[in-house]
């Protein structure tokens, strides 16, 4: 193995700038004649807007301009689009009420943007925003997920019952039959709690308009600048794409929340032409809590039918998913395409049916958050499997083993074809690392200390590497999901790679460079990765869904192959051999079976100084593009095992061991992969133990809108994780990789909740399993 190549634990190229304060995040960028924006946000969850009086605010010092929803509407601007069309089971399309970038006649959640104030300084903008007077008629708010469809109030006139769609997936009749003829049916009602994504860098944007070229530049904290540009230009503002450059510079975490096209940056771009000066906006943390798209928020009933041996025969899932006040960019796909298609889990359950009712409420929009649909699916599957094991008095590992898929490719009854995996191997490795066999002794020992010890398993699967464009299109996607890459070899043999993927912590500048350096046989320091700028990168669909390496990396891989293929032709000319006789290995082109060779750098120089060059057959230069559209999803899978001790006096849970064994396919940089797993686990454990957005059920106020009330995991809330991998290479992408970004957040909540309910001896405790909830469960049990 090359010391800095594929599989090596290479420290990150990007770290020096981050560690020395030289990272450049959106808020760090100030432009000449900079102005600052502050948004006037609705203090009410649901209110009619009778009027906006900005006269006195406009007269305040430093105010440059104030715009309202009426100003936007008057300029003919429509609303934000939703990128995925879902049809209800009766064939009707989902309800897509307008999502104005500034509210026009109604505000629909606390934090909804009603007006924007632009001023010389941020303080002036904020002071004037406070002075904007909005005349509201407060309306009753729809808040609760489970009862939204029966609420008296309507969030949108276009959806009087607050239902966006009722979507069905799978064979309902076959499932009903399985349930009717089952030896036993396990059943569970569970809630997947709403989360705030909480990237530590709040969302930010800085928009500038250049009159001489009639073009715009937008700096924005975003995970997919090309998608941002496409959506904003083509679907909202009508700006020609070539007149807009979107730059997502260093981005301080995303976790899904920075995929979407938001109102704020769209307003900034629109207003930048009107005020003729750059406008900057950075969310404060409370704005982030209110206006970042949230995650999860499902209410589900699941029934699992099985035979006398605990073999699963059918599963029925009924879910209500809260999409919030408006459909965010990918909101409709998360509780459907990214959820129900994963309900087979790792198991051979032959019949599965899911029905998902998506409801509008007067709450912040809900969209993809780390895992997006797949954590919800895993939570359903792995909690009901655990319940089934308890009902059937089977060991939780054993019931999983009896139902594992073991032959591949495997077509699930919910529409996916798993290409490869080895679920028993991951389970066995996890059981061994967690010393599962030793648990009863540890439990007994804990009892002598007055502690209740429990252990929980979760064998998750996810579909990553989003996605085959034709499959996504057939399922309702309104965009392609390929990736683009460009490998630009400089005359000296140094390489700049442009990728449409975007790194906001994942370490692409290192991992992608490892791939390229490995393939070209050059030092990693000779390869730089560029991303996040539509002015530099040819195209891109961005980073989410654990897709960067599997899709973006594959595009780069293909482009490198093209570079090598062209290099072979140049080398053949230089070495006076046939193209087909040239081999490329370790950075050297060689005539097979001889010692005649020419190094990569010489070939590169020849390409740019083509004096001795086959100009009649070959263009000069060495610069190749590739687009890669995958033929299938990738299917990372694994087993997580969590062991907890509960203090019965207080209900406090301590995680005493957490083991994760994951199959991510081939691994380029194990150090980075481990870091991704750790981070995902922290978010999953955060969901299960600490985090949750709470709305007042009457007023619709978000009660958890600061770090005083929303419990973010801190270092002392978490244990050291024991992580390992088992590799079955992906069969359909050139790197054999599957993706690792989301697995931790997908598998861990079920493992933890299975452990806590095991320790306490109850069927379910709602997430987050706060000390009080656990204590109450213990009181109920006693």
């Amino acid at each position: 193995m090359k010391a800095d190549g594929i599989g090596a634990r290479v420290t990150r190229k990007e770290d020096h700038r981050f560690l020395t304060g030289n990272g450049q995040y959106t808020d760090d960028i100030s432009l000449p004649r900079q102005t600052y924006a502050a948004f006037v946000r609705s203090p009410h969850a649901h209110a009619k807007i009778n009027g906006v009086d900005s006269a006195s605010a406009a007269a305040m010092p430093g105010v440059v301009a104030i715009f309202t929803g009426k100003d936007i509407a008057a300029s003919g601007i429509g609303g934000l689009p939703c990128g995925w069309l879902i049809h209800s089971k009766d064939g009707t399309p989902m309800k897509e009420p307008p999502h104005h970038i500034l509210a026009v006649d109604k505000a629909r959640y606390v934090g909804d943007q009603v007006a924007v104030v632009i001023a010389e300084t941020l303080e002036q903008a904020r002071a004037a925003a406070e002075a904007v007077s909005v005349d509201y008629d407060v309306l009753p708010a729809v808040v609760d997920t489970a009862t939204a469809s029966k609420a008296k109030a309507s969030v949108h006139d276009a959806a009087a019952d607050n239902v966006c769609y009722v979507w069905g997936h799978g064979d309902a009749a076959a499932v009903d039959k399985a349930i009717a003829s089952a030896h036993h049916v396990s059943s569970l009602d569970i809630v997947n709690n709403r989360l705030a994504p909480n990237a530590i860098e709040p969302r930010a944007a800085n928009a500038a308009y250049d009159k001489s070229s009639d073009s715009y530049t937008l700096y924005v904290s975003n995970q997919n600048p090309h998608v941002e540009r496409l959506l904003m230009c083509a679907f909202v503002l009508g700006i020609p794409e070539h007149k807009m450059r979107v730059i997502a510079p260093d981005v301080g975490g995303g976790f899904g929340s920075k995929i979407f096209l938001y109102a704020e940056e769209t307003v900034l771009v629109w207003a930048s032409k009107r005020v003729g000066r750059p406008i900057k906006w950075t969310a404060d943390r409370m704005e982030a809590f209110l206006s970042d798209a949230h995650g999860r928020d499902h209410v589900t009933n699941v029934q699992l039918a099985m035979d006398a041996n605990g073999k699963f025969t059918g599963m029925k899932v009924t879910t209500t998913a809260n999409v919030g006040a408006y459909l965010s960019t990918f909101a409709s796909s998360v509780p459907t395409i990214l959820y129900a298609t994963l309900l087979a889990g790792q198991y051979t359950t032959p019949a599965i049916y899911a029905e998902v009712t998506a409801v509008f409420t007067n709450t912040s929009p809900v969209d993809a958050y780390r895992g997006a649909g797949r954590p919800e699916a895993t939570y359903v599957v792995e909690r009901i499997v655990e319940t089934a094991a308890r009902d059937m008095k089977l060991d939780p590992a054993e019931i999983r083993r009896r139902n594992f898929i073991t032959t591949f490719p495997y077509a699930t009854p919910v529409g996916l074809t798993y290409d490869i995996g080895d679920y028993p191997a991951c389970l066995d490795k996890a059981l061994k690392l967690a010393d599962y066999a030793g648990f009863p002794a540890r439990q007994a020992e804990a009892k002598t200390r007055g502690k209740l010890r429990g252990i929980g398993l979760s064998s998750y699967i996810e579909a990553c590497g989003l996605a085959p464009s034709n499959v996504a299109g057939a399922l309702g996607a309104r965009a392609g999901l390929f990736e683009a890459g460009e490998v630009r070899v400089h005359p000296t043999g140094k390489v700049t790679v442009f990728t449409g993927s975007h790194s906001h912590g994942q370490g692409h500048e290192t991992t992608f460079a490892q791939v390229v350096a490995d393939k070209l046989g050059i030092p990693i320091d000779d390869v730089d990765i560029q991303h996040g700028d539509t002015g530099k990168v040819l195209f891109g669909m961005g980073t989410y869904g654990s897709r960067s390496l599997a899709v973006g990396g594959s595009a780069i891989f293909k482009a490198v192959d093209k570079v090598i293929a062209k290099g072979k032709k140049i080398a053949a000319h230089l070495l006076e051999a046939a193209d087909t006789d040239i081999e490329f290995k370790d950075g050297v082109f060689k005539v097979a079976g001889t010692d005649k060779n020419v190094p990569f750098a010489n070939v590169a120089l020849t390409a740019y100084v083509p004096h001795n060059y086959p100009l009649d057959k070959l263009e000069p230069g060495l610069n190749e593009n590739a687009f890669y559209d995958p033929t299938n999803f990738t299917y990372p899978a694994g087993t997580h095992i969590c062991e907890v001790e509960v203090d019965p006096d207080t209900g406090k849970t301590q995680i005493v061991n957490f083991t994760a064994v994951d199959d991510f396919g081939n691994i380029i940089n194990p150090m980075i992969v481990e870091g991704q797993v750790h981070g995902g686990l922290a978010q999953g454990i955060g969901q299960a133990l600490l985090e949750g957005c709470v709305y007042d059920s009457e007023s619709g106020q978000l009660l958890t809108a600061t770090y005083m009330d929303y419990a973010m995991p801190r270092a002392d809330d978490l244990p050291n994780f024991q992580v390992a991998t088992h590799v079955t290479p992906c069969t359909h992408n050139p790197l054999g990789v599957k993706g690792c970004g989301e697995a931790g957040a997908i598998g861990s909540p079920a493992a933890l909740m299975n452990a806590i309910t095991h320790a306490v001896g109850v069927k379910d405790i709602a997430m987050p399993a706060t000390s009080e909830r656990v204590w109450r469960a213990l009181q109920g049990r006693a």
Binding site: T650, L690, M708, D709, A711, W775
Partner: protein, 264 residues
């Protein structure tokens, strides 16, 4: 944050004068709660009177059977002080559990108790040890100092100069942290000394209070078991986003028993 006038008095008398008659003025000690509140729009002060330059307000002295801690002494300095650790280790533990490390580097004893946040830690020690609050005007007994939610016996223009803590025979503090804020969901300070047994509870009600039932139990039998056996009513305790009154009522004897154990 709103625009402010910042005053930098050089003497206690000047500081007091700046505050007198100005309802929109606040003393600035460490500012860890005050500035945070102002940024969230929860405090509309227009004038801040910075106490940082006043002489002799910071420092820790042993005075006979008491430890006297200056009002501007930072939490980190109390937590790390050898005399405090030796004579009232529970107080060092408490100071070391306030907020977080950076907050402890700036926040002060006087600022904390003057703010009288119902979930802050110091009030539990002040009441739990039966300390005396010294001001530029008088001495105030702990039991008379905290008068309600964010309310104290301090008069307009009155400035805390120090708190005098009697050294107890035994004392312990156990805090059950609210997971988000790290303030006390419930915190219980127990002590046994010349003044008898004192049990002060923070985080559970509108203000720090003495848990009479637990005090009575411990006065008869200073043991973890005795404290734990007490049943408390949830009446008058807080129910909020983070815990119900019932849970808090349950936690008080549990934490009191652990504090007794910690007291040794």
């Amino acid at each position: 944050m709103q625009a402010i006038q910042l005053h930098q008095p050089a003497s206690l008398a000047d500081a007091a004068k700046l505050r007198s008659g100005n309802d929109d003025a606040r003393f600035l000690a460490g500012g860890q709660s005050l500035l945070a509140a102002m940024k969230l729009g929860l405090n509309s002060a227009t004038d801040l009177i910075n106490l940082a330059a006043l002489p002799d307000l910071a420092g820790i002295k042993v005075d006979g059977n008491r430890i006297v801690i200056g009002a501007m002494t930072r939490h980190a300095d109390v937590a790390a002080n050898a005399d405090v650790k030796r004579l009232i280790p529970a107080l060092a533990v408490l100071a070391g559990s306030i907020g977080d490390r950076q907050v402890r580097n700036v926040g002060t004893l006087g600022g904390s108790i003057a703010n009288a946040d119902p979930a802050s830690d110091y009030p539990a020690a002040v009441v739990g040890l039966g300390a005396t609050v010294r001001t530029n005007q008088r001495e105030i007994a702990a039991d008379a100092f905290f008068t309600g939610l964010y309310e104290t016996a301090l008069q307009n223009g009155e400035i805390i100069t120090a708190v005098s803590f009697p050294v107890p025979e035994k004392a312990g503090y156990v805090k059950f942290k609210a997971p988000a804020s790290r303030f006390a969901l419930v915190g219980v300070f127990v002590s046994k000394g010349t003044g008898g047994v004192r049990v002060a509870v923070t985080g559970a009600a509108g203000s720090v209070f003495r848990a009479a039932g637990v005090e009575a139990a411990l006065a008869g039998n200073w043991s973890a078991a005795a404290a734990k056996a007490v049943k408390l009513s949830a009446d008058n305790l807080n129910s909020d986003l983070h815990a119900t009154a019932e849970y808090r009522a349950h936690l008080i004897p549990v934490l009191a028993s652990r504090a007794v154990t910690a007291a040794g």
